[in-house]
Symmetry: C2
Subunit: 329 residues, 2 copies
């Protein structure tokens, strides 16, 4: 296959067969004879043909260890359900913030559906895990679910809090992204019956990949000229304490500190503030520093893979770690 | 003990010791070192000293079958966590409806916390179940969670829909109340290692009790002179298709039908409509009929208990079924 083909596309090709089973399972389990609204709400999310990174992580982790199914398919669908449920609940949390306390009735209707359909997907994912019959898998995913929810609450309370440090940021990032990435790879290893040290290696890979992924996401918020449909500085406007801002705040003194207190701490933002924030980030090397930290996590992810069986799937996971940070190079 | 003492108070007395353990477990598991907001939000809900009906159902079901712990305590805490999580998510769904699309920023902040802390409690409950090591328990509670979420979505879509029939109503009621009641009693029997027919009897008891409980709740919405802090006709104003309304609508013709189409179907309510609705409910015996149906479900609950060991706890559960419908006599 062409070397220019992206690693997630190569994974999708190598895992085409089980991925098709995952898709079929997702469609079957989303259905609800009692509440037809449920597939209506989830269809555009799950059916929109996202990259399916998380289910591919589970399938790759299981199959690189020689597993041939069927329960990696259940677990891949589980992971995608959990991801979709958190997206639905994030919508409620994020949208209401953006509209500054004045959502439309239509938005509220969506909020109701988002909350309840998210709950339904959580319950469905839970049923899928039970079908695997593996208590270890249930334990891993229950812990991941708690970390995810805790991280979301932490993000909510850390917002606009200038005292937020890198340790808290890492907990938030684990909740937002890395906990599900690492659970996805870990349960793949567990269901394959892999040795404990290999399962731990997979868990570490998923964790580091997820952290790198989220840091890159936070960096892209400051990157101009992309057609990813996001505006530059959304996080700044929403007063989120992302790593670049945390580092610029840590280096701030005098007037700079006053600026952050006003714009992030008190949320009094004016024209020109975004440009000033960017300037401060550059002045203190906060963007370059975050980029280096993200690359270090990607290296850690690749390093984690070394004890795993040397095969094509492992190579693709290694390339995936490079690709995640290549988005910002 | 005085015969005037209510059955749930007698249960609380008989189960005082394990209930104290449940309370301690709930407090311990609510805590989050990473996100102190979580106990803040849950404290007033769980700590407010509710009747703890659901955890008592689990403890009673286990102990009437000779179980001495410890996992009924985990499961009782699980059930209370799930109940609290659904209350938190219901708040989001109900409050936003009441404010007609114009909630305050403060309300929205609560919405965010409600969604995320509810998710956290779901995850915590899931961890507690895993600790019991019983895959059968996990299966029962996963199915209950799916039924609950489905019922909530169904209620949302059935709202203001005059074609809603009694079959749909029963599905909604199972989702709102009976699914968790029956899971609570069923897992109590399972963890006690009770025979399959006894587990099924417990499941049927919880289901019937929950249905009677919810029907009474829907009737109380029309009862004047209570100091329960609810206004008469809240369900009518919110255009909920409860059993009394379903029956009055089923009997409606001509002008009566036009009335329901306007007030429930299109939501155009005026002064005097509530009184007119009450009059129609009385004219068609919809309140008396619902009361009879609720009593029949309570009888079914009592009947279900007959194969279970004849002891004090069983007597209390029987009296509890009578008490639930006595509220409307």
């Amino acid at each position: 296959m062409d070397a220019q083909v992206k690693p997630h596309e190569r994974l999708a090709h190598a895992l085409a067969e089980p991925l098709a089973e995952v898709d079929a399972m997702i469609r079957a389990r989303m259905a609800s004879e009692n509440a037809p609204r449920i597939p209506e709400v989830t269809d555009h999310l799950i059916g929109a043909g996202g990259k399916r990174i998380r289910p591919m992580l589970t399938l790759a982790a299981a199959r690189m260890n020689g597993y041939l199914g069927p329960y990696d398919v259940h677990l891949a669908a589980t992971v995608e359900f959990i991801h979709t449920a958190t997206l639905l609940h994030d919508d409620v949390v994020d949208e209401s913030g953006q509209r500054r306390g004045r959502p439309t009735a239509n938005l509220l209707w969506d909020n109701k559906s988002s909350v309840l359909v998210g709950d339904y997907l959580f319950a469905r994912s839970f049923q899928l895990m039970v079908e695997t019959g593996s208590m270890r898998v249930l334990d891993i995913l229950a812990n991941a679910a708690a970390t995810i929810a805790e991280g979301e609450v932490l993000q909510l309370t850390a917002m606009s809090d200038l005292s937020t440090g890198e340790e808290t940021y890492l907990k938030i990032v684990r909740g937002k992204t890395a906990a599900l990435f690492s659970a996805a790879t870990e349960v793949g290893g567990v269901i394959a019956g892999a040795r404990l040290d290999l399962v731990q290696a997979l868990e570490r890979y998923g964790d580091a990949l997820g952290i790198a992924f989220q840091m890159v996401d936070d960096l892209l918020d400051w990157q101009r000229g992309d057609d990813i449909g996001k505006n530059v500085g959304d996080d700044f406007r929403e007063r989120k304490m992302t790593l670049p801002i945390i580092r610029a705040v840590a280096a701030a003194e005098g007037e700079e500190w006053t600026f952050w207190v006003r714009t992030i701490g008190r949320g009094k933002q004016e024209d020109g503030d975004l440009e000033r924030a960017e300037e401060l980030l550059h002045r203190h090397g906060a963007l370059d520093g975050t980029r280096e930290t993200a690359i270090a996590w990607a290296e850690d992810a690749k390093e984690a893979l070394s004890p795993l069986p040397d095969n094509e799937l492992r190579d693709m996971l290694r390339d995936l770690a490079d690709y995640v940070v290549a988005r910002i190079r």
